[in-house]
């Protein structure tokens, strides 16, 4: 059974249709890439699934439960983890504390005013950090991390929520090409290990074809193609869009 | 500039070493009698600086005549910044650290009440100079607090008496919306209505203190078509109100009765727009030709090269009253001073006065008269001085208002 089922999702801004009647599904452990040129509606679609935007029509089901129109917090509570195009971490905390925060929230231990955070779930946090290769950085201030490390930290934070679905918006934006592949292969491995469904948008086609199980192509708000890497590569409609911009690798 | 130099000199007492001062203060014999004084020097400088000048003049005059009980007076002033809480803290400093014998001061009513409360709690003597609130000697009165200046009630009652002589029946009031303004209007209405049952109050305006929207206020009063106006606004509020009123013709063919407007502090800034023919309480200043006042005014002018203001009269009289009270007590011990101040008779440039034993209110009187323009400046004319003792309610009324604990 699919983790995420999206049906007929639509959204307009001031009469301009940004996303129209998009449907798809993601299975556990599956990496689904969402691609398309700038302005195709990727972010809008993404934000409707993540709760930042309320759809005009359509439904979003998570594990069979409708989450359409819920806010980001409620959606997170339903087991959706997220990373952002511009990294969003807690700058006044250490790397470990960032993950501890996610764990505390997930376990419903936020409304406690007495016992210090210091040792709470530290081992679990360190395990998650080790999983993304940040174990050595656990004590450091988040603000001094390299950009690639911040991205990995976001991944660890998102995993702290024990998500069934991970939403990754441009996870490799701003990273060096070698790092990109490394991050997404890490994600791939974690998804497989934990059976997490991953929906991500990505500009870098090398990354997309390298790690995704399936690819959705969006153009002008509608789904124009869906399939595995080979079929998408061969799809004339997709070729037309991308040849038009000439970008197959990281250009945007 | 004169003001500036005084500003710096004014607080110089605090720069001396506290230990040294303490040693001086505790020694009896010829050691000075220390008067600690707290006032709103930075927040109300227009009134408190001439007041402080006159206090210094009075201290010098008294000391040149041998002081009190053979000891010179020493004045230590502090700035409360217009905040009662600061005044209370500084009262502690003056008593505990500077070892003053008696506390004086306050311009704002709330500062006066805070100091009075402090005095009662700590059983120390406090003599209020300028605060007007009736509460200070009546419903919040206490054993350790005296007040010199004629109160809101006294000012309002003389104005109500004058107002009762006018033919006007339709009255409006305009008053700053805080305790002073509200009490003034309350007393004025009460006393005037008692004397003239035919009078009715058809509108009232309550601009926020210091923020009068003069145009709209004047327009609203005009809309009520009154025959007479009772005004309690003062300071910049009064200036704005008078200007809008003049232009919009609010005061034409209408009687105006106005609290304190005859004080040069408020009348002078109006310049050539000072209203004519308003019935006011205030201070005619150098126009007063009694020998005592002439001598005082000449000495003040000689020392400060400025004309004495109403605040100066209060400051000068305040020091005189303290000297007289201590002389009568024959001691600077607080309980004996309280008994000494009760009924103490003292001279002021305006005439003799006393602290009433019944409520500790000073009987310094009120000048009431009309405003007029002379050489493009507002002055008081046709004024007369009414002794404070004639402006107070009957003794049994006063006893009823004063708490039992205040004996």
């Amino acid at each position: 059974m699919s983790v995420l089922v999206v049906q007929g999702l639509s959204k307009s801004f001031g009469g301009v249709r940004a996303v129209g009647d998009v449907s798809f599904a993601v299975a556990p452990g599956e990496m689904l890439a969402l691609i398309g040129p700038n302005g195709a509606g990727k972010s809008t679609l993404f934000n409707m699934v993540g709760g930042q935007l309320v759809p005009d029509a359509g439904s979003v089901l998570l594990g069979g439960v409708p989450i359409t129109g819920l806010g980001p917090r409620a959606i997170a509570r339903h087991g959706v983890g997220r990373t952002f195009q511009i990294t969003a971490t807690f700058g006044s905390m250490t790397v470990r504390e960032n993950v501890q925060m996610a764990l505390l929230s997930h376990k419903g231990e936020v409304w406690s005013f007495w016992r210090p955070v210091a040792g709470r779930h530290a081992a679990e946090a360190d395990a998650l950090l080790a999983g993304v290769g940040l174990a050595a950085q656990a004590e450091r201030a988040t603000g001094v991390l390299a950009y690639g490390d911040l991205k990995r930290l976001e991944l660890a934070i998102a995993l702290g929520n024990e998500p069934r679905l991970l939403l990754m918006d441009e996870p490799t934006a701003g990273m060096a090409p070698a790092e990109r592949v490394a991050l997404m292969q890490l994600t791939r491995r974690l998804a497989t290990e934990r059976g997490v469904a991953v929906l991500f948008t990505e500009h870098d086609m090398d990354v997309v074809f390298d790690v995704s199980d399936r690819i959705l192509v969006l153009n002008r708000g509608t789904l124009i193609a869906e399939g595995d890497g080979a079929s998408i590569r061969a799809n004339p409609a997709v070729r037309e869009i991308y040849l038009g911009t000439g970008a197959t690798s990281g250009g945007h | 500039m004169e003001v500036t130099r005084r500003l710096i000199l004014g607080a110089s007492g605090a720069l001396a070493l506290p230990g040294l001062l303490r040693a001086q203060g505790s020694a009896q014999g010829n050691a000075p009698i220390r008067i600690g004084e707290i006032n709103s020097y930075t927040s109300q400088p227009a009134f408190t600086l001439p007041y402080r000048n006159a206090m210094q003049l009075a201290v010098e005059t008294i000391n040149s005549k041998g002081g009190v009980l053979g000891r010179p007076l020493e004045l230590i002033t502090r700035d409360d910044a217009g905040r009662p809480q600061d005044a209370v803290r500084l009262a502690g400093e003056l008593f505990n650290d500077q070892k003053v014998d008696v506390l004086a001061g306050a311009f704002l009513s709330n500062v006066g009440l805070a100091l009075s409360e402090y005095a009662a709690q700590n059983k120390r003597l406090y003599i209020g100079g300028e605060p007007l609130t009736d509460a200070m000697v009546w419903d919040k009165g206490n054993r350790y607090t005296f007040r010199l200046r004629p109160s809101t009630y006294m000012q309002a009652s003389i104005l109500a008496e004058e107002a009762a002589k006018l033919p006007a029946k339709r009255w409006v009031t305009v008053s700053p919306n805080y305790e002073y303004g509200q009490s003034a209007v309350k007393w004025f209405r009460q006393i005037l209505s008692a004397k003239r049952p035919d009078v009715q109050f058809v509108a009232e305006q309550w601009p926020a203190l210091g923020r009068v929207d003069a145009g709209a206020t004047v327009q609203a009063l005009e809309g009520a078509r009154p025959e007479a106006i009772f005004n309690v606004l003062f300071g910049p509020d009064l200036t704005n109100f008078v200007r809008q009123g003049n232009t919009r013709g609010l005061f034409e063919r209408r009687a105006v009765v106005s609290m304190l407007t005859g004080e040069p502090e408020y009348l002078d800034p109006l310049g050539d727009e000072a209203p004519e023919g308003w019935t006011v309480t205030g201070y005619p200043g150098e126009a007063i030709d009694t020998p005592a006042h002439k001598a005082y005014a000449a000495a003040y002018r000689a020392k400060f090269n400025a004309k004495p203001m109403c605040g100066s009269l209060v400051g000068y009289s305040l020091i005189n009253s303290i000297a007289a009270g201590i002389a009568k007590a024959g001691s600077t011990e607080t309980e004996r001073m309280v008994d000494g101040f009760r009924g103490a008779v003292f001279e002021t440039p305006a005439g003799g006065a006393t602290y009433r034993a019944i409520d500790h209110q000073g009987t310094l009187g009120v000048y009431v008269g009309k405003t007029a323009l002379r050489r493009n400046e507002g002055v008081m004319v046709d004024w007369r001085y009414i002794d404070g003792k004639d402006l107070l309610p009957a003794d049994e009324v006063v006893r009823g208002m004063r708490p039992a604990s205040a004996t």
């Binding site: 997170a76 969003a88 501890q100 925060m101 | 910049p236």
Partner: protein
Amino acid sequence: MDSIVPQLLTGLAGASSLFLVASGLTIIFGVTRIVNFSHGSLMMLGAYIGWSIITRLPREPEWFVLGILLTVLATALIGVVLEVAVLRRVYRAPELFQLLATFGVVLVLQDVTLWIWGAVELPLPRPRWLRGFVEIMGNRFPAYDLFLILVGPVVLGLLWLLMNRTRWGTLVRAATLDREMVAALGVNQRTLFTSVFALGAGLAGLGGALSLPNASANLNIDLSVITDAFVVVVVGGLGSLTGAFLASLLIGVIQAFGIVLVPKITLVLIFLVMAVVLVFRPNGLLGRPQAEAREATVAAPVVRAAPRELRLLGALALLVAAVAPFVVGDYYLTVLTDACVAVIFATSLHFMMGPGGMASFGHAAWFGIGAYAAGLLMQWLGAPMPVGLLAAPLAAGIVAALFGWFVVRLSGVYLSMLTLAFAQIVWAVSFQWVEVTGGDNGLLGLWPPDWARSPRVFYWIALALAVAVALLLRRALYAPYGYALRAARDSATRARAIGLDVARLRMVALVIAGAACGLSGALFSYGKGGIFPTYISIPHSVEALLMVLLGGLQTVAGPIIGALVYTGLADILVRSTDLWRLVLGAVIVLLVTAFPEGIAGAARRLWLRGREA
């Protein structure tokens, strides 16, 4: 009623005056993001300078206009001096530090103005032509007010032309939208900021000079104008000129009719208008939401528990404080007691402002609510001090919960301004509702019971409460709740994405801060024997900000150090010179420029130098 039209016109004239001051404030804010507290002082200087110039000129209208223009130039020049000498040095500092610097300037200018022009208010003598009027519906209406009605739209029009038809204006508008972008375009930011400040100051000067025929130049203009100007700017939407104009009209007209209909609550009315507008339009009438990215770029340093050495030092200080009554005299004990109150006052503000990210410009409201709760209980029920000290935080906490519903949905400066408005409403109620609160005479006779009356015992009580509150708040900050609160501040987006309820976290922070602050208000009142509306005044709220920011926002020890330093400094200054405002203001400006991270922050940086990876 034939007085409706004149009353409306009067409101429009008032609106013009409001707009003149507010326009400069909003332009300065739009470009430099500085909440300029000294804007009222600039208007005050405009009034005084205008008075000095115009009284020296012939009394004809053309000379009057010339005098006004010269005044505008002079205040613009003062604006340039201010910008170059003070503000330029603090642009990189956190937003609130600039506010602090401008408040230092307010203090300095109060004394400078007193020194130059003296204490007596200075009305401009009005020549005949300024006293003229026209008959409107049987009422005399001042011709000058008609002129004022025109000035507002004319100035708006000129500013519109300046903003839309000149290269400079284009840059200003671009900078209002995105400061970084303009910097990236290679525009000389310094010149742009200086010129914007000059324009804003000139407009304030214009407002001051044009007020002269109706009002006097006096020393109270600065603070009375600045609150009105803030309200207009916030209601209009920060940075929006047209918004400020609409807000001026709205407030001017409501004020004019409010005077007729509800003469006793005009003061509250304005702030109610502001609160209502912000509830329905959280960014004001025409304001844009502030960029979220900006808050994320200012990375707060990592909060770590204090090093062992510092804890030892703290314990030592506490020991010294505990035995102080055996060493110092009664007066210094009361100063120390005040310092304890200040510690609670400041740490409670720090709680919501530092970790909570909600800067309150009206923290004194909670102080006052706590104080009045204790005072009214004493007056109505004869409740003794222990009951009062319990009731105060309860009352303040409950009101904070009600108020929180409005406020936690706002952010940044809008939130700060709503807290300011709320504090002004509380102040106005305490000041004007004499029957209940005693008005400015206050509530008296609020003394501790006999066993606690000696300065020594009362000090120990205050010390115990201060230490308890500081430790409890610290405890909460290192507990999951405190981390979650900080998380919501660091990145609301991320906090929501991990399932945190940002609004509720902030709401609870406000309630905790309000309750703690209420306790300090009650404690203070028992120490002073009374409660007065001055407890809720704007300067008192600013004092709280001063303590927190001087101490340092990013450390738990910061507000405590700030409270102690500020209390000591203020006490020494007030007792040594009548020019304490000048000195205090200068010290604030110096500290702000020298230690933009606060005293504790600077000490921490020195301590950590070389230790942090």
